[in-house]
Symmetry: C2
Subunit: 256 residues, 2 copies
């Protein structure tokens, strides 16, 4: 059973998140993983034992991906590019398989990853653009980007991000390492685009961090609010979660 790694892009708007949701073995909603499982099993000629598809990250309802990574095993050995073409023929157009490679049997999309990069698009227009509503968070209060830029370095490093984890976070520890936290101002498009890179992120962590950064941008929180928030380890102190529509899983990195 050769193992394959696939890089997957999707418009998350019409999915109830990445993770398959089933009750008594019946899928209840359209999910990215559910669609991938169906496509991979169709391609694998529906073997007796259903082929599993494992993803690097369980993106939420409405969250997008340019570079989600999944792995699966096929019951026959064919070139990665043939797998890519075959899956794209089967899948609906809001999922795109960008690349497929054969990998060693011990590769695991989730556990082998050493870092992830996300970006978050904020539309700052004073109205909700019909063409952006699915693809950006919308925040029409005046933002001072310099205040946000001053605050961003406070997120860098190995820290306990318990304040920034939504209830429902199920990981053993809330300590994570962030290696990159930046914002780009796109004046022409009335957008701010945040980029975050780290070893892993807690449930809703990026959307809660963006929420705090936007509140810093409006002046509602002081520029140096983040160290105290981190020290508090208390979700109640950071209650605004930026909308799912602005978030993109951009790249997952692996060793070797």
């Amino acid at each position: 059973m050769p193992r394959y790694r696939a890089i997957v892009a999707y418009d998350g708007s019409d999915f109830l998140g990445f993770q398959v949701q089933s009750k008594h073995g019946v899928e209840r909603h359209r999910t990215v993983q559910g669609e991938l499982i169906k496509a991979v099993n169709q391609m694998g000629k529906n073997p007796v034992e259903r082929i599993k598809v494992v993803g690097s990250s369980r993106t939420d309802t409405g969250v997008h991906a340019n570079g989600q990574v999944v792995h699966f095993d096929l019951p026959f050995d064919i070139p990665g590019d043939a797998v890519r073409k075959g899956l794209n023929t089967i899948l609906a157009r809001d999922i795109l398989i960008k690349q497929v490679d054969q990998v060693s049997e011990d590769f695991h999309a989730r556990f082998s990853s050493h870092s992830k990069r996300y970006y978050y698009r904020v539309s700052t227009q004073d109205y909700i653009d019909p063409f952006k509503r699915r693809y950006t968070g919308h925040f029409h209060w005046h933002l001072d980007a310099d205040r946000i830029k001053q605050a961003l370095p406070d997120l860098i490093g190995e820290q306990d991000f318990a304040t920034f984890a939504a209830s429902g976070n199920q990981t053993a520890t809330t300590i994570r390492t962030i290696t990159r936290a930046e914002v780009e101002v796109k004046e022409d498009e009335n957008e701010l685009v945040f980029t975050f890179e780290g070893n892993a992120f807690l449930y809703n962590q990026i959307r809660i961090m963006v929420g705090v950064l936007l509140e810093i941008g409006t002046g509602r929180r002081p520029v140096d609010a983040i160290p105290a928030l981190i020290a508090a380890k208390d979700r109640e102190q950071a209650r605004y979660t930026a909308p799912a529509a602005g978030l993109y899983l951009d790249e997952v990195a692996y060793n070797g």
Copy 2:
């Protein structure tokens, strides 16, 4: 009954076109006009005689607008900007009222217009981008933009565009005047963007013209194909209609 003119943007993906479709007075599908009629009547306190909403153009299923223009009469006199805000509160987020002005009683969104501008986005990537599938036509054959640029001026002028009218066109004459026909190559985005301006267009005319221009771009038709096609007045000679998703009604112009 003061008359109002509204400039309307919409993501056409989730509408069965602009024009309301009803059978025995019951709406059968979600349409832009249908949504506008509901919102305007709600705002007008549902008067006994239902308020009509008249549009400049009946855009097809999946076609978008940045600047569709409509008119309607309200049973009371309030400022245009209050009408704009009120309607945006009622409408779903895939329709945006950009501007509302009071106009004279003889203004008519369709008959008072003297020209319209459309653009058409073609994605030339070799795969269908999940984030563009709703917003561009997709054409992955190699296109020579210089060939298209050479052919475009042949569309300019007052000509009989019968070859470029889909069956279902119901206008008395197929003579139309095109004043602008251009293409811009956006290398970074792997897109071609066509712009067309004219006094009015026939049913599906722009999508059929784009189809011919793309066939000229691939070399399937000669660069000088258009004059002969126009002379033929025969739809059978231009059968490829570019997809609705790439088309945008950008602006409608009025005298005064």
